[in-house]
Amino acid sequence: MAEQELHPAQAHESAHPSPAKYILIATYLTLITIFEVLIYYVDALQDYFLWIFLVLSAVKFYYVAMFYMHLKFDARIFKTLFIFGLVLATFIMAALLLLFSIII
């Protein structure tokens, strides 16, 4: 079965980040989460919560997908497939929220 690993594309994997980089990203993720929880209790920011949280979680999402899942370094087709699913799901969610007058 090992022949599976001999394909040319596997060469990409050598470009994977080092464990140190992984730990750094984990630190970012933790800090963002702590930050989210902290501002959750800041009433003054209440009006902007929605956007702050969406942006912060998008950042977390980006880091995990791009680095932990290696999308940044892997073949482009993976990115294309996944982002297509993601965009379609987002489109459908937005359309439903619009149709049910939850947003706007």
């Binding site: 599976q4 690993e5 989210e36 999402f61 997908a65 899942m69 297509f84 699913g85 459908i92 969610m93």
Partner: protein, 205 residues
């Protein structure tokens, strides 16, 4: 962990140069986006639609969930470290990190069980209202995904004692890792949408 790839691929590289299974995993995850997307959309439509309480802002517990979110994020770190260890042929650390990932995943599930139990005590069951129905379905399916991940990781863990985890087999771990990270980023979205945004009191209109 044999696979059902056909043997003729051994001397016939794939068209894209990519492994069937890895392509399959990414395609499956793209499909899962729509699955969780529909569940999250249902939650967003229903979170403030309940006729009877408890309402989201009355019951969601941010500190507890923040902790479990931290646990799950950490498990993702353990997962990439496991893969890195496999790729440099370091079976002992690989085994350690795989176990750590599974352990953190199980801890997360523990938190979820605790949370569900607390909610039921405080009068929110899946039948109580539409918030409960959509909340338990969404987080329950996420929990089911984590459970499958933990079983998968533990299978790899035990498998490593019998057959080792040579670098050539890193794809077995990588696939599990992709699945695991996906479950993690779904939780990133759930934590934001269901807990942080979901628990805001709806504007009085």
């Amino acid at each position: 962990m044999t696979t059902n790839t056909t043997a003729h691929e051994s001397h016939l590289a794939t068209t894209t140069g990519l492994d069937h299974r890895k392509l399959l995993m990414w395609l499956f995850l793209a499909s899962e986006c729509l699955f969780f997307g529909s569940l999250i959309a249902t939650f967003l439509l229903y979170k403030d639609a309940s006729v009877v309480g408890p309402q989201p802002h009355e019951i969601l517990n941010i500190p507890v969930t923040s902790t479990s979110t931290f646990v799950l994020l950490t498990s993702s770190l353990a997962m990439v470290l496991a893969l890195a260890a496999v790729q440099r042929n370091d079976v002992v650390s690989a085994r350690f990190w795989i176990f750590a990932t599974a352990f953190l995943g199980a801890t997360f599930l523990g938190f979820q069980v605790y949370e569900f139990y607390e909610f039921v005590i405080h009068g929110l069951t899946p039948k109580t209202n539409v918030f409960g129905a959509s909340f338990f379905t969404l987080t329950g399916f996420h929990g089911a995904h984590v459970t499958v991940g933990v079983i998968w990781l533990m299978s790899l863990f035990f498998y490593s004692f019998r057959h080792g985890l040579p670098a050539e087999r890193s794809l077995d771990v990588e696939l599990c890792g992709l699945y695991w990270h996906f479950v993690d980023i779904v939780w990133v979205v759930i934590f934001t949408v269901v807990y942080l945004i979901g628990s805001l009191e709806p504007a009085a209109t």
